[in-house]
Amino acid sequence: MTADLCIHGGRVVDPANGIDQTADVWISDGCITGIGDFSGDATRTIDARGLVVAPGLIDMHVHLREPGQEWKEDIASGSQAAVAGGITTLCCMPNTTPTIDHAGVVRQVIERAREVGLCRLHPIAAVSKALKGKELTEMRELHRAGAVAFSDDGLPVWHAGVMRKALEYAASFGFLIIQHAEELQLTHDGCINEGWISTQLGVNGMPAAGEDTMVARDIMLCRLTGGRYHVAHISTAGAVALVRAAQAEGLPVSAEAAPHHFALTEEELLGYNTDAKMNPPLRSETDRQAVIAGLRDGTIATIATDHAPHHPDDKRCGLSCAAFGIVGLETMLPVSLQLVRDGVLTLPRLIANMGQHPAQLLGLKSGTLNIGAAADLCIFDPKRKWVVDRYQLRSKSHNTPWHGKTMTGQVIHTIMDGRIVFQLGSEE
């Protein structure tokens, strides 16, 4: 038996196939050819003893800023950041310039990612033309060009009538609508969560009710239309409860949580830290616990970063003037591993939330170690500690709230199509 690459002796975790055991994984011609005891010749061997070998992670919510804002990030730098975080599949949001609202831009973005060749990129196309919330995009053509879902993220689809039509039209073809759930009338001049912290800082708040009311409305529209509806970056106790009830009713409703919403609270804003400002904002401890409970009981089955790079100039200002968003690709895995250490999720369930589950939601082939599947893997040391240095991130932007913080868990190798696309320490 021969192989191009053998990953030897790691803890192989493949939730889609119910695998969680110490084994070898071997790869030939870019595909997984076996899992078990490898005996034979491999061109290259990676010693993975003590490490976890998992399917390459999927992050279904990132802002890559290309085309249009390449000084913040581009597909090359975003891909580098992704693979450094063990992520081999990205879904990028359409709020670029031009907007990803016609097939040409979808194809351009996919083509650019292929040229970079580090990870897979599946665009999410706009629900409405130019994100204006008025006319629907040509969803069928966008889907044919490679868009895997539809969202106006950055903004909600605010108009109830347009949302109804979007869900109905998408439902006709089985497409998924991803909503940035925010009632703008309640949040419009806010910059952080509304509550005790916003009161002390003297800044306008964004009440949790702004998210809750939009999710509540949308769930009623789901019931009306039968459309598939996904709540992006869910952050409030109210929204989690609404999604849980909708799922119990059998509605096609799903949700994702961002690591910052289950790891941090609005307390981070004390001292006016603009790197803790994002939308939806960091919420209260009650909300954080509700998001964790949603992950525990499976109401929330996906973790996604909402990676939102911004230039330092857009963060070096007063809190109310600063841009919303933080980078997240390189910290997603270690921050999320805390859920395993805290006993919220088993390691296989955590891996499924960053692989199998988003893949199923979006109809992707990634997220498994199926024999014969493209060899996308993430090999990480769940115990290894490292300190986040914002200036060492591969992303072009440095806007992380975890600067100077110690992470536990580090990616050692990332493999895409059988190629090693990231190896810790090899860049320096």
Partner: protein, 308 residues
């Protein structure tokens, strides 16, 4: 004291020291020769991004009475009109090496943010958004000190737009430090979320809050902003519910004083006869404002208790 961002940064002892110093400057400002050489050779820049004639003038007079060189820059004439950022403006001015930069800006927390980039300049917060207004707070305390030796145990009733008020926040913090009690009076539309966590009492009915009050502190209502925002239906209804008039004042404690950070809206939050009446301390506040700012500038510039 390197900077003065807010009352939250001051201890009880520091507050007392500033008030003592301020008290001595009241006397100085009443002499025929109203100038001391204390800050000769010091440069103070008043950088005001919001219009505030009274606060800016108060800082200006304070600096001049101390013999400092005072430069006033207002946003209307500054480079920010050309798109220069707050940081660039502040850094440019800091490079000219003033001893103190006094900043008024609509963005809460702007002084905290700027301080990270201006290592050589002392910053005094002259009001940042709805966050803090420490020199107004100290002014109010100096005014109350003329009334009673200590504010401990006294009840200060604040009425009006608490949500947008930096003075209110500074008082809510100072009350905990100094042991006075605050009653907030406003409809819920003008109260920030969870404000009761400061330890104050909340009233929506002004008449219920008046008995027992030792001082009634009226806040300015910006009627345009607030009616647009649906914070209250009309000035007429506001005045009826939350305006301070003689009948209401009569039900407060004997000797209750009336305060206002100015500028006042006669007939809106305060009736003219009350504003001009014997219990009004509104003009005393203005006078004491100069004295307190002299105390603050002296302290910042290496005068008394300068521990930089």
């Amino acid at each position: 004291m390197k900077h003065l961002f807010g009352i939250a940064d001051l201890t009880r002892q520091q507050i007392t020291t500033l008030l003592d110093l301020g008290e001595s400057f009241i006397e100085l400002s009443r002499r025929s020769l109203r100038k001391t050489p204390t800050l000769r050779g010091k440069t103070i820049i008043n950088l005001f991004f919001e219009n505030s004639t009274r606060t800016r003038t108060s800082f200006e007079i304070a600096g001049k009475r101390l013999s400092a060189d005072v430069i006033n820059i207002s946003a209307a004439t500054s480079a920010t009109q050309k798109g220069e950022t707050l940081l660039d403006t502040a850094q440019t001015l800091a490079a000219m090496r003033p001893h103190v930069l006094v900043i008024r800006h609509s963005v809460a927390g702007c002084c905290h943010f700027l301080a990270d980039y201006l290592p050589h300049t002392a910053i005094v917060n002259a009001g940042d958004g709805a966050h803090e207004h420490p020199t107004q707070l100290l002014t109010d305390l100096l005014t109350l000190r003329q009334q009673w030796p200590s504010v401990e145990g006294k009840i200060l009733t604040m009425v009006g737009d608490i949500a947008h008020s930096r003075v209110a926040r500074s008082h809510l913090i100072a009350a905990a430090t100094l042991g006075y009690h605050i009653r907030l009076v406003a409809p819920k539309t003008l109260l920030p979320q969870q404000v009761e966590r400061y330890g104050c009492e909340i009233f929506h009915d002004f008449d219920a809050a008046i008995p027992g009050s030792d001082a009634i502190y009226m806040l300015r209502i910006q009627s345009e902003r607030l009616t647009d925002n649906c914070a209250f239906p009309s000035v007429r209804e506001y005045h009826e519910a939350y305006g301070l008039n003689r009948a209401r004042l009569a039900r407060a404690n004997p000797g209750c004083v009336v305060m206002h950070p100015g500028p006042i809206n006669r007939g809106v939050e305060i009736a003219t006869d009350v504003a001009d009446g014997a219990q009004s301390r509104i003009l005393d506040q203005v006078e004491h404002g100069v004295a307190i700012r002299m105390a603050v500038l002296t302290t910042m510039c290496g005068g008394q208790n300068y521990d930089r």
